[in-house]
């Protein structure tokens, strides 16, 4: 594991990021609180995970950071500047090439009508990364080799349908890499792939972080894979970030009751057979104008009166480990979150 540098070198510092979507009916003032007051950071060369169930707001967070959609409020501080202020009318071409996104569905994210070579050539041209045909070609082959697709010449001539899901996802990574990004936002990059292929793509991400100095935001619902590749894991629930910790610590010493629920639900053949106890029932609550307080309170076995009145602040559990839960209100607040 990479030791964090003494003074944290942050690539991305996300502060109080919030996104409300209007419901859309005429005269309907209600709003969907998709992402609410999310604060976290991505240190350089590290992989940071956002883990959560569907509807937790993890993908919306990634899309906000990629600036595919604009946040309602908050700050996205990239290399020390708040890009929402400095590039308020939309992200610059530089930001778009520095921050790249890889999507979940490799069957939908590649244009079926074009060859791999064409798919990889487009970003190189648009972002003017190479000059001339020969250089572009060589760069395309190099990119394919980087993501473990060889022989590059053969792969480049193929169409997406001729590749398997894992190979397609590697092409998606190559395309993101082509513009020399600094940060990659990987939104469930392996959840649609076959089990035997997944580890290969995860290892690729780890290699890119270690060798090429890329920083990753890895978005997943699979907490075991978060532990496998990432340095730090943040847990989201109903648009809120409820806990953050070094990935290994999060799995072994979860603090928030929701994290505990999530961990207990993961199938784990090592832990013996057929654990049928379900610690909490129910599903993520409606995000339309939610009531104040902790969103997990209705399902939480430890819910107190105050949990329904106000969202708890982040309490420090340990080094780089915090939880938004009143069970820990005897501990100091975490100033970094």
């Amino acid at each position: 594991m990479i030791e964090a540098p003494p003074k944290q070198d942050l690539v991305m510092d996300i502060r109080n990021l919030t996104k409300h979507f209007p419901i859309g009916g005429i005269g309907d003032k209600r709003k969907v609180h998709a992402v609410e007051d999310v604060t976290f950071h991505i240190p350089r060369r590290q992989i940071v995970t956002l883990v959560g169930e569907s509807g937790s707001g993890k993908s919306t967070t990634a899309r906000l950071i990629a600036r595919l959609i604009e946040p309602t409020s908050g700050e996205i501080i990239y290399n020390g500047t708040d890009v929402l202020k400095s590039e308020s009318s939309g992200a610059s071409l530089k930001y778009r090439s520095d921050v790249q996104m890889v999507f979940q569905d490799p069957f939908g994210s590649l244009n079926p009508a074009h060859t791999i070579e064409y798919i990889l050539e487009r970003p190189l041209k648009i972002h003017k990364k190479t000059r001339g045909r020969k250089e572009t070609r060589e760069r395309i082959y190099e990119l394919l080799e980087t993501v473990g697709l060889g022989p590059a010449q053969e792969v480049a001539a193929k169409f997406p349908y001729e590749l398997s899901g894992g190979q397609r996802q590697r092409v998606a990574f190559a395309r993101a890499l082509s513009v020399e990004p600094k940060v990659m936002l990987a939104d469930e990059p392996v959840s649609m792939l076959d089990v035997s292929i997944r580890v290969g793509v995860l290892n690729l991400m780890k290699r890119l972080a270690d060798d090429q100095g890329l920083s990753f935001l890895y978005i997943t619902h699979d907490i075991a894979s978060a532990r496998y590749i990432s340095d730090h894991t943040n847990v989201m629930y109903a648009g809120r970030m409820v806990e953050g910790a070094p990935s290994d610590e999060l799995v072994h010493e979860p603090a928030h009751p929701y994290t505990k629920l999530l961990l207990s639900a993961v199938p784990n053949p090592h832990a013996g057979l057929r654990t049928t106890d379900v610690p909490a029932r129910g599903e993520i609550p409606s995000l339309i104008d939610p009531p104040p307080g902790c969103p997990f309170a209705p399902r939480c076995p430890f819910a107190m009166k105050r949990c329904r009145e106000a969202m708890p602040p982040p309490f420090t559990i340990g080094k780089d480990h915090w939880a938004r839960c009143y069970l820990y209100d005897d501990l100091p607040n975490d100033p970094n979150v």
Binding site: S164, V195, S196, H221, A224, A265, V266, P267, N268
Partner: protein, 366 residues
């Protein structure tokens, strides 16, 4: 009225006294494609006992869902069953006529599909959809049917006053439970579940699995559980069959399979998912991609991806054989320890030999 006839057919490998519910013998299914036929299922045999949970695992395209659909006889052309037997409670499903089939489906075997939550009719209430299923098989009045439907919903953990809800008014997890309620309606002795929880979140998945386990204890049905999620399968099934390119390549009780996998592919699968506990170690996965079934690899179908490949592996087809009691494996690594006779049909000319001969007469599909 379902359990009649007894097991008159000689059950070859069933232990004496055990209660065999379903026996599949040498099942073959082909898809007739433009470039030739694809043998999606190539000689699959296994048995299921009453009350047993069999896990069927493998990558996409390995034939696991095709096996399930063959059992139900719901395969549509271009898929055709080209051989084998499916003996359910002593009768061959492949010989049934339309009337017998209609009874067999849902009375004998019911199925929960992967996208089951989307298989509900969006313009009918879930109550009506359950009653429909019941009335298609049993003579019951609307009032009786409604009462049964409400009971079924309660059994799967949905409040009975949701009976008049439309599918869109229910969450994904509730819809999946409603589908399980429909599958339970006639209390069949066998349920086939094809990736029933893949589209659901882990917490909801855990709830559904707990529910399935509870219902199984209560009603004593058998389950064929199909998924590619090995960690899930090890947890819930009694025995697991691993499929690769249309064949079972290993079968054993699930604990043993998890702890001592024999086939290199199974070993690879088990080493493909990160664990939640224990030391963090680098995983390797399995290199390469699943094979193209139109022209499957010669010899052992896994040999192009196999880390333990030997000289003979691309020439001789390995046979599924018993390595230890109850543990079968299809791999040349283990054939030395058991009597094995190479049949001429197991031998395949080496690719180079084919190239030398120019063109070889294709064995056409009979």
């Amino acid at each position: 009225m379902t359990t009649t006839k007894g097991q008159t057919t000689p059950a070859s490998n069933a232990a004496p006294g055990s209660d065999v519910l379903l026996r599949i013998e040498n099942l073959k299914v082909e898809y007739l494609a433009g470039r030739g036929s694809v043998r999606a299922v190539d000689g699959v045999s296994f048995t299921i006992h009453r009350g047993e949970v069999i896990g069927l695992a493998g990558e996409s395209g390995c034939g696991k869902s095709t096996v399930a659909q063959a059992i139900m006889r719901i395969l549509q052309p271009p898929a055709i069953i080209t051989g084998g037997e499916i003996i359910f409670e002593g009768r061959d499903v492949l010989q049934m006529n339309d009337r017998e089939l209609r009874k067999f489906r849902w009375d004998g075997v019911s199925m929960v599909f992967q996208s089951a939550m989307n298989s509900l009719n969006p313009v009918a209430t879930i109550g009506d959809q359950i009653i429909d299923g019941i009335q298609a098989h049993k003579k019951v009045s609307n009032a009786e049917g409604r009462e049964m439907a409400a009971e079924l919903l309660e059994i799967v953990g949905i409040e009975r006053d949701r009976i008049d809800s439309y599918p869109h008014q229910l969450s994904g997890g509730m819809r999946q439970r409603a589908v399980i309620a429909i599958a339970l309606a006639l209390q069949p002795p066998l349920m086939i579940m094809d990736e029933p929880t893949t589209a659901l979140d882990v917490v909801v998945q855990r709830e559904i699995l707990a529910k399935i386990g509870e219902l199984k204890e209560r009603f004593g049905f058998s389950i064929i559980f199909i998924t590619h999620d090995m960690s899930l399968l090890v947890e819930i099934s009694d025995r697991i069959a691993i499929m690769y390119a249309g064949q079972i390549i290993e079968m054993s009780n699930s604990r043993e399979l998890f702890e001592t996998p024999l086939h290199p592919y199974t070993e690879g699968l088990m080493g493909s998912f990160p664990a939640l506990t224990g030391p963090r170690r680098k995983l390797e996965g399995i290199p390469g991609s699943p094979p193209d079934l139109i022209s499957p690899p010669s010899g052992c179908r896994f040999h192009p991806r196999c880390p333990k490949r030997m000289l003979m592996c691309d020439r001789v087809r390995p046979q599924l054989g018993e390595h230890s009691p109850g543990h079968q494996v299809r791999c040349h690594l283990y054939e030395v320890s058991r009597p094995h006779r190479v049949e001429p049909s197991d031998l395949e000319p080496h690719p180079q030999a084919i190239a030398r001969q120019g063109h070889e007469s294709e064995r056409s599909v009979s």
